[in-house]
Symmetry: C2
Subunit: 482 residues, 2 copies
């Protein structure tokens, strides 16, 4: 990599400090060197250290205490984090894993205990609040049940979404927001607006299974970029890719990526927006998990730094409110008109009565409180799962520590073949997707994604312990040569 490609100074310092925290040299709860002290030690400006510390704060590794300085965050991490993924040097045709389709693409029998869902189910969501909003909307807007809607979405709903997007740091023009049939519909429309079959799309590694599916469907090539389990996609690697490969678009989840649960620091988001502008790259930003992030500072979107219209912001409320409404939205920046045309000729709009029910819901004064309540309920469940993983899984297991959401990414000892293990789980009516379905070419074969968004009972806790036992048994037997 040329000298120009080395990370900025503040990021070098931040990464070094993060490593010291991770390996215990800087103990949890201990005081960090003062800004002045560290600046002197490193021979850099104090503002550079401040920038590094802000980055570490964003990453939840340190906290600022007013008038006392910075401290290493006190939250214990039970197990080490997964390693930074390697990515792939060349774009590949996508052929999604058949296991992925079977596990994530089809409903499972009722007697199977599933850890495949990263979406809160009816037991975590406020079903009655949604039902009341739908009934009220059908009553108030009944004429709209019998009228062809605008394919852009009802203007009152677009206005409500523009108000909501202020929380993502964006000031959007409702006229440029399009309501869609869900976040994946938004993403598929974006890809169709900016690519042709055969084009290269960069994405995180590991990545969301549905992203690989949509890339395959549109005959696009995937370029998997190294991704940090906590800080997300490596912009250095992305930049190198942009300089050496014909990358048309980046598909990225800056907040709580799937499956890693990584959150890009704000400085990185700004840098990504700049990179996109410099390289004419279309950034398709999936913000669907934003409301599940524990800290407000993770919610500000890449789009909020976008001055040139290169960022296409895709979102929905399916992870926080009501997946059964099947509504999402997109602000497609400079590609708004092509996207509108593709959408027009595809189907031409969603049910305005549901759109207005959604507008009602996200506009209610109680909505922010409902989101906090949801995050608290999820956090309790995640803590329970953390304890099980820490106690029941093989020594050497690494696990992500996502600041929100319903997913854990586990990297098991090399001896563990999760594809084989998946079958052993199934024999006991337990479903856990193996790591291979989150990339191309059979990588991540010692990884698992644990999603705890579905039903949650004592049986699930027992089943998860059993998953750990089976993994331990396999880890104890040395893996055969391939």
């Amino acid at each position: 990599m040329a000298l120009d490609d080395s990370p900025p100074l503040y990021l070098q310092i931040a990464t070094q400090m993060a490593e010291l925290i991770r390996n215990g040299s800087l103990g949890r709860g201990s005081r960090m060197p003062s800004v002045r002290e560290l600046a002197r030690q490193r021979g850099v400006a104090q503002s550079t250290v401040v920038q590094a510390y802000h980055w570490l704060e964003d990453a939840r590794l340190i906290t600022a205490r007013p008038r006392s300085g910075y401290f290493v965050a006190a939250r214990p991490v039970a197990l080490p984090e997964p390693s930074v993924s390697r990515g792939l040097r060349r774009p590949r045709d996508v052929s999604v894993d058949w296991l992925g389709q079977r596990i994530l693409g089809t409903p499972h029998p009722a007697d199977v205990i599933s850890f495949s869902s990263g979406t809160p189910g009816p037991d975590l969501l406020d079903v009655d609040r949604v039902r009341r909003a739908v009934t009220r909307s059908a009553q108030r807007h009944r004429q709209l049940l019998c009228t062809y809607p605008s394919s852009n979405g009802h203007e009152d709903a677009r206005r409500a979404i523009a108000r909501y997007a202020v929380g993502l740091g964006c000031s959007l023009n409702p006229e440029r927001i399009l309501i869609t049939g869900g976040c994946m519909d938004s993403i598929s429309l974006c890809l169709r607006a900016v690519t042709q079959p055969g084009d290269v799309v960069a994405l995180e590694s590991p990545t969301h299974f549905s992203f690989l599916e949509v890339l395959q469907g549109l005959h696009l090539k995937a370029l998997e970029i190294p991704t940090h389990p906590r800080y997300g996609i490596s912009l250095d690697a992305l930049q190198l890719a942009l300089e050496t490969q014909p990358v048309k678009a980046l598909l990225v989840v800056p907040t709580l990526s799937n499956p890693l649960g990584a959150c890009m620091p704000q400085g990185e988001r700004r840098r990504l927006a700049q990179l996109a502008a410099q390289h004419g790259l279309a950034v398709i930003e999936d913000a669907i998990y934003s409301d599940l992030a524990e800290q407000d500072e993770h919610r500000r979107s890449v789009k909020s730094y976008d001055a040139t219209g290169h960022v296409m912001l895709c979102d929905s409320f399916s992870k926080t409110l009501a997946p059964g409404l099947r509504l999402g939205w997109v602000e497609a920046g400079r590609w708004t008109e092509p996207l509108r045309r593709i959408k027009d000729m595809q189907a031409g709009g969603q049910s305005p009565v549901l759109e207005l029910a959604l507008a009602d819901l996200i506009g209610q004064t109680g909505h922010a409180a409902a989101m906090r309540q949801l995050r608290t309920a999820i956090a309790a469940r995640m803590d329970e799962v953390r304890r099980v993983i820490a106690s029941a899984f093989p020594p050497g297991t690494r696990v992500s520590d996502p600041p929100g959401g319903l997913l854990f990414w586990l990297e098991l000892p090399r001896a563990v073949d999760t594809v084989q293990l998946h079958q052993a789980f199934l024999d006991e009516r337990i479903l856990v997707p193996p790591g291979t379905v989150f990339g191309t070419g059979g990588r991540f074969r010692n990884c698992l994604r644990i999603g705890v968004g579905g039903d949650w009972t004592a049986d699930h806790v027992r089943a998860l312990r059993r998953v750990g036992e089976l993994a331990c048994a396999m880890a104890a037997v040395p893996r055969k040569a391939a």
Copy 2:
């Protein structure tokens, strides 16, 4: 055309008799020659004449009176029918008319009196019946508001659609029905399942504006096939095209085609299913207007004759029940699995609460009566429009006489340029789409489509007379050479 391409004997006889009826040689209400008599005269089997008479019955030109024989239908036709369209010999790239996009693709201001809609609006539909079904479904199935749905559609809704399809002459397996975001969504999915960019798709001429839009969006070429204003697409011309051109799919509306309002006779539907099987042609059948057909015999679909899975049946209830639900369905025959995959990766399902509201509505005992009531209301409005057209439009005007639906197709004297006229209408706040938007290459420039599905007031009747006056004024001035 080779000898083999000449129409079957019964159709030759039927066409000749139709001509005799149309030119008055066989007067309205008079007795037709008996089957035995005509068979002897023509030297053909009686069964051939019976077939010809059934075809003429389907076409509403004659009626059978038990024990008395066949009679020319008594219904007066005010004006002659439009001529059979010529079609185009070669496939063409589609570039939709900008006027079409402005007139049919965008909402018009409230003070404009519009004749652009072929869909019954809230004044013709039973808004409260729909509203009650939605409220009931949200109440009963509230859990589904907060669950990711199956992308195929809720199975109870698919079963209800299979029962409904019996009325289209089909016995469909609910497992193979996919619920979509509307009939155009179904059609777009079908096209994506059976074509690649650059492929040729045959369709009626003139055709539905949205069909041209979707073809353009998918980079498909249009091959416009001659179409009879009463009997629909010419299968002889289609057959010739199949033998000489690489036609991948046919997009056809056998019942109440848009804009002509033609209904294919049942014998022709059977022949089309056979042609598709012989040539490996994908027939995309749009049945959306079936419930608006005045006679039951027009409702039997091409799909009902399909033994080989070459017919993909697309439908929705947006023209008869509730366009604002945004639901449609498709049974894609042998292309069911590819279509399912495309749909999966596009958006992944509609709102199951709305799907089940729809299932409730179409399963209600009163639904058939509601459809009859709707057709009666529409017929009254259409009769009013027929009278205005007969009295206010220029001599030499030809007009379609559709057996149902809300559209008239007018062929004005050659001197009338409807693109120019459209601007004159607009100056008086009247909107009527010119014929050019229903084909490629600026054809049908002396044609108009009058749709009476929107609001309907005394102002509309006055505006329609004014449309006639302006057309008369232009007809009186000889058209300039181009």
